[in-house]
Symmetry: C2
Subunit: 442 residues, 2 copies
């Protein structure tokens, strides 16, 4: 069952952390989990919960006796330097912890007196990857993205016949998952111009981003044991933002017949705060309604719950700040805004499809949605689509132009859920800046 | 530099473990590493070295003071329940340990007196996966396999234009890597007959194996730092056998445009003994010589050392034992025999290509070669090729036929290196038996 709205979503709730009450991404109704380390320290990373511009140190709160037995197991799992143990516990443990954290941070709580011990300013913390990701899989769930890209790479068959039946995905590279803020080196690789007799090796000339939504798996599944749709929500801990950096020239040359490999594996950036499925309960909406004439999903991908609330009313924005903008102190410029509700497949369908062959999922596995693009030009979630493979360069406010990313460019993803009668939930940022390519090997 | 032949390869060496001197896969010249646990026990898995039909318990040998300081660090790394720590240490540590293990197991060593404490019979041990594999990548390095498969799936363009330039690969699934001997459930999945209007979901009807060679990464590489060919051998700990189980009907429907996913991720079986690059020094041969007219590899994939000794003179055999053969006590029947020397790309080229975009490799990462097929029909390394997609069923000795694998079929991969003047090195077995598909989800 998809989590229900409860008292922790009450828009009247306010926190004794004042910055949480002022339109922050992290009001007391959000309470996302992350892993942080006090900046410039060598202490082990630990689990925190974002509240306004502060981080609640869960270990400190536990040590001070703020949790009762009902949340004891979940609070103990937060002593690890990654969220995997908490993710493994399951929905009732998560909900118990959320209720108690909400109470601790609420105006009137006695915990406010221990502000100094419990809170670390975000400005004084380094954020880590939220989990040890054993396996990372990436999907292709936006039919708008698939159609746009397909019409560039395969003009004769933009949307392949399997698309409306199979939640298309592939295995990604886990080793190069990066915490938000880490710089990204432009990759070297093989590229081949259409008329050239042979490929050349060198820095990618068409480095791109992809704005995606990720989910972290909660309790795992057993090898050989598929997951029914009705149980999918029990295995979905929470959501994040993912930038699936992509070298389009490397991709177009390498991707047949086994799919993208080095065009993607040089870096994937993940936002630091995991927005729990519990926090998003007020923002669940019906899954994408397929146009008349499209086939229904096969039975193993159908579920009443999913049809009624399988979607998430989440808006995604992409911002670019070039080196010159940074030097002038200019604010980032928005490149696009898209809606996660436009995805052809829900995250539950991706989870269930992934496990349908018996493949085992483990706590902390990351599944990303693929580029989130909408039907409008302003909702295209990567530069490949925005510039139509470089043919229609973007004009930036200060007169610069871009076909793809240049060295020094900083790319920022943001996400938010807004609904009348509820407090806005933000996703924080997923951020990375491009460094020049290294000298090639050899 | 590729390891050199030294005194540990001397064919005159004999062990006080008698079974090692009698044509075993594991003579004293081999000394492969694995992770074992005494059968039916709950003790932690530990590192062992195969010798004849016994396992040297490295921890026991260390505890008894058999290692001197030169091998101290490597022996200590073997206290872990996986080989990752040893793999991370690098070539000089591995070589020091090998020299001392060779001395300990040699006829005349005082260690023979401690036989009871140092050895565990293989028959009394369960073998684990050799390493915690964080990332598993699979290549496509046999041009014969690529051409055969391509001509079935894409008759108009069997070998794609990138093949002779790019060591084609894709990311595999790490969670479903299995130790040899584990049963493999037939996967459910979507398949679509060419003339059917829509796909159906159910047990795969064309379950296949792929006979591959795997390598385990030794010391890792840093993100953003490519690996030059001249350093590749420093990062290659050892070799194993890999069975990349494949559901061909799921694969042909799902694989465009992002490559194989659920058709592979239900299970991949890995042989338990890692044959070190050191052990294989006498069997290194020149890399595959490309036919006249084929392009040279791009410079980042070229190296003198690789050209002269980048290949491995390794033969691979595939055996099948059906349920009926097992019930009758019949020996497995051989389906094919292929030579790893026929691969278009060397493992060093695959490693260097993998890191060429800055993707970081970690100790214990597994890279598999892709199906090893040769030019002869008898050297085709999967059933898809042997039966030409089911059109030419195999006739088994007892009158049974096979187009693909049936429930109850047991598949066994074996490998060996043979060279005049040296003792034969075996790879042991990579084994798995097919179980019926589970009830579908939903």
């Amino acid at each position: 069952m998809i989590p229900a709205v409860d008292e922790t979503h009450d828009p009247a709730l306010r926190s004794w952390v004042e910055s949480a009450n002022e339109g922050s991404d992290f009001p007391i109704q959000n309470l996302p989990f992350g892993v942080f380390r006090p900046a410039d320290s060598m202490v082990a990373p630990r689990v925190g919960i974002a509240i306004g511009d502060m981080i609640l140190d869960v270990g400190a709160a536990r040590g001070a006796g703020h949790f009762t037995a009902a949340a004891g197991e979940a609070a103990k799992a937060c002593m690890a330097p990654a969220l995997n143990d908490l993710m493994a516990l399951g929905r009732s443990a998560w909900a118990a912890l959320r209720r108690q954290v909400s109470a601790i941070l609420r105006q009137g709580s006695s915990a406010a007196a221990a502000r100094q011990e419990l809170l670390v300013p975000m400005a004084d913390a380094d954020m880590m990857l939220p989990a040890r990701v054993n396996d990372y899989s990436d999907f292709y769930a936006s039919i708008h993205h698939a159609t746009n890209v397909g019409s560039m790479f395969r003009p004769d068959s933009p949307l392949l016949p399997n698309y409306k039946y199979v939640p298309i995905g592939y295995h990604g590279r886990a080793s190069s998952l990066l915490a938000s803020g880490a710089h990204v080196r432009r990759p070297n690789g093989q590229r081949k111009e259409p008329d050239a007799p042979a490929p050349v090796f060198g820095p990618s000339r068409s480095l791109d981003y992809e704005c995606e939504v990720g989910i972290f798996v909660g309790p795992g599944t057993m090898l050989g044991e598929p997951l029914p749709m009705r149980s999918a929500a029990e295995h979905l801990f929470g959501f994040c933002l993912v930038n699936d950096w992509s070298a389009r020239d490397i991709q177009s040359w390498e991707y047949q017949p086994l799919g993208p490999f080095l065009s993607k594996s040089f870096a994937t950036t993940v936002s630091p705060w995991v927005i729990t499925a519990d926090a998003l309960a007020p923002f669940r909406i019906p899954a994408f309604v397929r146009p008349v004439g499209d086939p229904s999903p096969l039975p193993y991908l159908q579920d009443d719950d999913d049809a009624s609330r399988g979607g998430v009313d989440l808006s995604l924005e992409v911002f670019l700040r070039t080196r010159s903008m940074r030097e002038r102190g200019a604010t980032p410029t928005r490149l696009s805004r898209a809606h996660f509700a436009d995805m052809y497949w829900t995250m539950a369908q991706m989870l269930v499809h992934h496990a349908s062959n018996g493949c085992n999922l483990r706590p902390g596995d990351l599944l990303a949605s693929g580029t989130v693009s909408g039907p409008e030009k302003s909702a295209r979630g990567c530069m490949l689509e925005l510039t139509w493979r470089g043919k229609e360069p973007l004009s930036l406010p200060d007169g610069e132009t871009r076909t793809f990313l240049e060295d020094g460019d900083e790319l920022i993803l943001r996400g938010e859920c807004v609904r009348s009668g509820y407090v806005r939930i933000g996703f924080g940022e997923c951020r990375g800046t491009i460094l020049p390519a290294p000298a090639g090997p050899g």
